[in-house]
């Protein structure tokens, strides 16, 4: 099967699930149910594309197919921020209650953190990329530990608020935020898209990339910032869900068997749309909300991750 055929099939599937999700049992409720479902669909498309894109470019830069950008500690920072806000200001404070304020605050915190981290590391000359990852892991673990510590001390009622933020959910995204996120994500992806052809060469390794005329340092920096911004937006919109990127990115590599990132990224994006909307449909129609999408994603993702680990260890 040719890769373009595969992409068309995926596109068809994503339209099918979107249509199914939007219009099944609508019973003429065009004014109430349709816009609400529409917003959810849009949120899933944004998150799916952002995470797929961020994960594929992150894995290409780090030359590692079992990493996700969450290793840089952005999700951990998000949870820490939510925990700290609820712990010190209470769950009825404006920074928690008002979704817009919380969104802006979260996105800003994550992006500033990522930029500081990169700036600090890149200023000290060209450090190997694994050094950056190591720092990311340490900082992320540190954030998680503080969050856990605060969560132990917190009032149980308040803790349920924190717990709410620990899992991604598409059930109550705010309409305004979806539009802001859509615009931001589109701009960032368009900026990154102009460097897509460099990514193909980056997967040959640093030395080959430089040999073939890729401005390595600047492309890597740009891609790291782009993936951080995308993760920040999607995390602030629906919650931590980066594990999901690992699944779609690897499925895309296996399915397309291509080195062209234009195909791999488009494929991964379509797969995440199919998986998120299809998954949400399953959650709502088959499990009738008795579970959440992120539980299913983490379950399937976990199984797939173990499979990948076993496969990697066999091949090396």
């Amino acid at each position: 099967m040719r890769n373009s055929t595969k992409l068309i099939i995926l596109l068809g599937l994503s339209f099918l699930f979107t249509g199914l999700y939007l219009f099944q049992d609508l019973n003429g409720s065009y004014d109430y149910a349709l816009p609400r479902r529409g917003i959810k669909v849009l949120a899933m498309v944004i998150t799916g594309c952002a995470i797929a894109y961020a994960t594929v470019i992150f894995q290409t830069i780090t030359h590692n197919r079992i990493l996700t950008p969450s290793i840089m500690g952005l999700d951990a920072l998000y949870l820490l921020l939510q925990t700290v806000l609820i712990f010190f200001l209470g769950s009825d404070h404006i920074t928690i209650m008002n979704k817009q304020v919380n969104f802006v605050l979260s996105v800003a915190a994550m992006i500033i953190f990522a930029l500081l981290l990169y700036r600090f590391l890149f200023n000290k000359g060209s450090q190997p990329i694994y050094f950056l990852l190591l720092i990311g892991i340490i900082v992320g673990t540190f954030f998680t530990s503080i969050s856990t510590f605060l969560q132990v001390l917190i009032d149980p009622n308040e803790f349920s608020m924190v717990q709410d933020r620990m899992f991604a959910s598409f059930n109550n995204v705010s309409t305004d935020l979806v539009w802001i996120a859509l615009i931001l994500t589109t701009i960032v992806i368009l900026i990154g898209w102009r460097s897509t052809h460099f990514l193909d060469v980056l997967s040959l390794g640093r030395d080959q990339a430089i040999n073939l005329g890729v401005p390595y340092e600047s492309v890597v920096k740009k891609m790291l910032v782009i993936s951080a911004v995308l993760i920040a937006i999607s995390t602030a919109l629906v919650g931590p869900i980066t594990f999901f990127g690992l699944i779609v990115a690897n499925l895309s590599y296996q399915f397309f068997k291509s080195f062209r990132h234009s195909i791999l990224i488009t494929g991964a994006m379509l797969m995440s749309i199919v998986a998120l909307i299809g998954g949400q449909w399953v959650v709502e129609r088959i499990f009738t909300f008795s579970t959440t999408l992120s539980v299913i994603i983490n379950f399937i993702g976990g199984v797939y991750f173990i499979y990948l680990l076993l496969k990697e260890s066999k091949s090396s």
Binding site: V201, I210, N211, G213, P215, F259
Partner: protein, 258 residues
């Protein structure tokens, strides 16, 4: 023409390359030889901008290579390192196609396809062109990477120990191809070699390094001399003339002398 001026590299306080200044003569094969740890590969990495130098500069046609745009430089100088680990699966033809990236930015046109074809012919790889790299032997892979560099079509080609892990047959084959690149297409080749006999038989010039310093730089016949080699390697190396080739015998000093 590449000129190296006062190039140094330090790891901590250890000086690996120490104030190296050399001119690479265009249209020749220049071999870098020297004992392990002499700084040959590091020097080549700095010349090819894979590594930043701590002092000094590399000039290409009198212009500092750091001032030349990466995309432009990749049409003039190419580098092939020893290990080429990748995490994508590519066929030989796809890999060689990457050599055209500086020109086509990933969208190969007719001229690029012609160049890829030419490079495959040059390296005698047409039988293997649709095979995946991970299905090939070390020698075949090495040939595929050299074909990529040929497709890149740069005036200067830098190679870091391209004969590593290759058997005699493939080593000779690759050295002959490099010779052809210089003699037929007028390329300039700089190569790091461990086997001084390959350096002696195939190169025009030799640069010998020791402890990060250039200690010999000149025509091959002037360097492949017992006295010069003794200085470079600290061992007695007997040089014999065989069919117009100067062959170094160093395997057992007891066997030397007639």
């Amino acid at each position: 023409m590449i000129q190296v001026r006062g190039l140094s590299k330090l790891y901590g306080k250890k000086v690996v390359v120490d104030q190296v200044s050399i001119d690479i003569v265009p249209g020749t094969i220049t071999s870098f030889i020297g004992p392990n740890g002499a700084g040959k590969s590091t020097l080549l990495s700095m010349v090819s901008r894979l590594m930043d130098a701590d002092t000094g500069e590399v000039l290409l046609d009198k212009k500092n290579i750091k001032k030349i745009k990466s995309g432009e430089l990749s049409k003039k100088v190419s580098i092939l390192k020893q290990s080429n680990q990748m995490n994508v699966r590519l066929t030989v033809k796809e890999l060689v196609g990457f050599g055209r990236f500086p020109y086509s930015k990933g969208r190969l046109n007719d001229q690029d396809h012609a160049k890829v074809d030419e490079a495959l012919t040059y390296m005698d790889l047409h039988d293997l062109e649709d095979r995946y790299l991970d299905e090939l032997s070390g020698g075949q892979r090495q040939r595929a990477f050299i074909a990529m560099v040929i497709a890149q079509d740069t005036d200067t080609i830098l190679l870091d120990e391209p004969l590593n892990n290759l058997d005699m047959k493939h080593s000779v084959q690759i050295m002959k191809i490099l010779r052809r690149l210089v003699d037929e297409l007028g390329k300039t080749v700089v190569i790091v070699l461990h086997d001084i006999n390959f350096a002696s038989v195939y190169s025009d010039r030799i640069v010998a390094l020791k402890d990060g310093k250039v200690i010999k730089d000149g025509l091959t016949n002037d360097i492949i001399q017992s006295t010069a080699l003794k200085e470079i390697y600290d061992m007695d190396i007997h040089v014999q003339q065989l069919n117009n080739c100067r062959i170094c015998v160093y395997f057992n000093s007891a066997l030397q002398g007639e």
